[in-house]
């Protein structure tokens, strides 16, 4: 047996086969139609190909279609049964044609919409943590709504999708803003929080005559919850730019990272860009995931390197 160095054992989490809770990734976006569902399914397929057991969870309440991205017919077993109290999430799981990959059907028979309470969302989170999977990837609906935000906040990896179009970029910034403010508000003193928001606003409007940083503010003011701030910096949201056709679009992620840093004093991480590929919509028409019909394209390479980075960023590998 090869002896591993002592600290390497601590760095690489041994998730498979152990009774640890699954890693939860939430894929969200400010605007609809930017490719959340496509990216969720592709992450799932890539991770399953790498040998991890993966569960995809469709929580898009505006109309679920993860099954279509996976090339499946909608299942009768859906998350509706969970919301109506009939079943647990673990009983709603449907296997797919891909080994190691299962999914939970979202609500597609939407003739009687479900009134969501945030307690129900927290209950999902609680149950998800008890599942015996390596990874659970949640596909949420578009926009900065409360249920999306809760699912985004609780995730181990928060993935935000945008396209290079100004409409999508604009809504991504609104999402980030919502995430930033809501997170800081949690457990914070109302007065201190409004003081912080006022400072933040003045800083953005360049009325503040001194350098501003949320970090310094939290240090100086007791009222802001340390835990809320720790949540913000511990795992920065990951940004993915989908539908890249030009070199400028490829560098867009770096630019958005810089803008977030300068404007919101919030660090985000640019995970990477995904090329625009006609094969994507063509395979959607023929109902077969593009990563299965064309597994050796640059597109597949991009998903592979992103997944590998998220699994273990310290893992050294060749550039694909």
């Amino acid at each position: 047996m090869i002896k591993q160095p002592e600290d390497a054992k601590n760095v690489i989490p041994m998730r498979r086969g152990l009774n640890l809770r699954p890693q939860v990734w939430t894929v969200a976006s400010g605007k609809g139609g930017v490719g959340k569902t496509f990216i969720t399914s592709s992450f799932g397929i890539t991770l399953a190909k790498l040998g991890h057991s993966v569960l995809l969870l469709d929580l898009d309440f505006t109309g679920a279609n993860l099954h279509t991205a996976l090339g499946l017919k909608p299942s009768h077993l859906s998350i509706r049964q969970f919301f109506e109290g009939e079943k647990k999430i673990s009983e709603c799981i449907v296997p797919t044609q891909i080994p190691h990959l299962s999914y939970v059907q979202g609500i597609w028979d939407s003739w009687s919409p479900i009134a969501l309470a945030s307690e129900q969302i927290y209950k999902i989170v609680e149950e998800v943590h008890q599942l015996k999977y390596d990874y659970v990837i949640i596909d949420v609906g578009p926009g900065a709504t409360l249920e999306n935000l809760i699912l985004f906040q609780m995730a181990d990896e928060k993935v935000l999708i945008t396209t290079p179009e100004p409409t999508s970029i604009e809504k991504s910034y609104r999402f980030i803003e919502y995430y930033l403010c809501t997170t800081l508000k949690e457990g914070s003193d109302t007065e201190a929080y409004s003081h912080l928001i006022q400072n933040l606003r003045e800083y953005r409007q360049r009325l503040l005559n001194e350098p501003f940083s949320i970090k310094e503010f939290v240090k100086r003011n007791e009222g802001i919850s340390q835990r809320a701030y720790a949540k913000l910096v511990e795992k920065p949201p990951r940004l993915v730019v989908n539908g890249v056709r030009t070199q400028t679009a490829k560098t867009l992620g770096h630019s958005m990272r810089s803008v977030c840093h300068k404007f919101y004093d919030l660090d985000i991480h640019y995970l990477g860009g995904i090329d625009f590929d006609n094969a994507v919509w063509q395979s959607a028409k023929s109902r077969e995931p593009v990563l299965l019909s064309q597994p050796f394209t640059p597109l597949a390479g991009q998903f592979l390197s992103m997944c590998k980075h998220l699994i273990d960023p310290t893992d050294l590998r060749a550039v694909v």
Partner: protein, 212 residues
Amino acid sequence: MTSHSRYSYYEILELDSTAAHSEITMAFDRAKATYSGDNPAIYTVFSEEEARELLKLIEEAYSVLGNKTLRALYDQKLFGSNASLDDLSYESLLAASRLQSLDNHVGNATIPLQNQEKVLDLIKATKEWSGAKLKEMRELKGLTLDRLHQITKINPYYIHAIEEMNTQNLPAKVFIRGYVLQISKTLGLEGGSVANSYLSLLGDRTPLARKA
């Protein structure tokens, strides 16, 4: 002054103070692409005017951090114990670096005090710069022939010939012009006019002119 001008150049370029030169260049390229033109990334966050202002700061930051001498000076001031904000302005850095580069030119040989007025007088009085005048200037500034050679990298044989205006030992005219330019600059004179007047004086003595 805007609030942003109070940030350090490292913060403006979003860099660690230990960043390597290549990282600085890359950060600058990215920042420039972000805040110039119509990059969609600044849409609805920064106005055009704000972006222009940011770009100005970014360029200023790079002109300092991208330059080894200026960066070293900046670091000294930034991490020094008694740095004030005024010390960190771009102008003060430029001035400091100019002082430093002057020091480099004349080396340790500072002008002897009693000669300072004489130097000024000589500059005022001299209309035509001959080799002898250049030599006088050099001696007033306390530079030996060797030291001048070390600074300008001109062969001392030629420096000597230039001072003597010895046409037999001088190279072609274009070289003479270059040498005189360098010597006069090192001596703190205005290179162009000195070289012109020197060459016109020399013109009468070149072998060709004598033959004619």
